[in-house]
Symmetry: C2
Subunit: 134 residues, 2 copies
DNA sequence: CAAATCCCTACTAAACCAATAGGATTTATA
DNA sequence: TATAAATCCTATTGGTTTAGTAGGGATTTG
């Protein structure tokens, strides 16, 4: 029932970049210092975010990262899924990561977890980085 | 964002016992076979459930387990907390397991996770084993 | 006494997590 | 053109958690 620090750090980095849009490329060290994240750890996350097309980067001096999308086009769900996998509380209830478990036979129980998944999913899908910096 | 199999198995065991209330003590092997759970693994869970006063047990031949409370007095939340700890998606948002993280400064973000915690918490607190066997 | 059963602790293999290390490459600029 | 600042990329590490397995002890019933 927990988020990894990876997701939290990634969200914090995106929030920082969103707040400082228009200031060109921003370096990992700048973000790490501002948000209190271990820089080399953040580096890995930024790379992943870049590969998933949340970010654009520039190498070399004056390089760094900036958002590849508008903040209102980045739902929290997308970020969390990238680092933590499925949003659902159990496998049997996840749409994206289905796997068979004995719990499936308990329909009422499954329903409870489906409801939770739906709420969490909806909440995180409709909340974007833009909502968070307002 | 995930439940451990421990919690799932524990819930399945409680559901089984609730469905078969009034049949006296039921052995681990019976439950394990019925619900598809590794018996020696289930044994540990049953012991924990017993120590947490969800179950009563009887040793020896004809021994086994039965519920120590009425099914409607066992919220799913209690069971999940026993095996998985906090329900909240991030530490900074958990009432029972507070710990400081850099995310706290982002109030809007924290709010989203608080909302999720509240929903999940409320849902799991008010759903009991009795609801699940109906 | 034998069988069934819970009780309890220890162990293990694999995965995951958070973080660190360090070299390779690219770019701006002095 | 040398240097510094930055990303890029892979590997490694130490710790924890997870999902089980193993096995001996204690207790009760037939």
């Amino acid at each position: 029932m927990k988020l990894t620090t990876r997701s939290e750090y990634a969200l914090l980095a995106l929030v920082y970049l969103a707040r400082n849009e228009g200031e060109g490329f921003i370096s990992i060290d700048t973000i790490a210092t501002a948000q209190g994240i271990p820089p080399k750890f953040l580096e890995q996350l930024m790379l992943a975010l870049k590969r998933a097309h949340f970010l654009r980067s520039a190498k070399g001096q004056k390089g760094g990262y900036r958002l590849a999308k508008r903040p209102d086009q980045i739902p929290l769900a997308d970020v969390i899924r990238l680092f933590d996998g499925a949003l659902a509380p159990t496998e049997s209830v996840s749409e994206n990561f289905y796997e068979s478990t004995p719990i499936e036979k308990e329909k009422k129980l499954t329903k409870v977890f489906k409801d939770i998944r739906d709420y969490v999913s909806n909440k995180l899908e409709k909340t974007t980085i833009a909502d968070v910096i307002k």
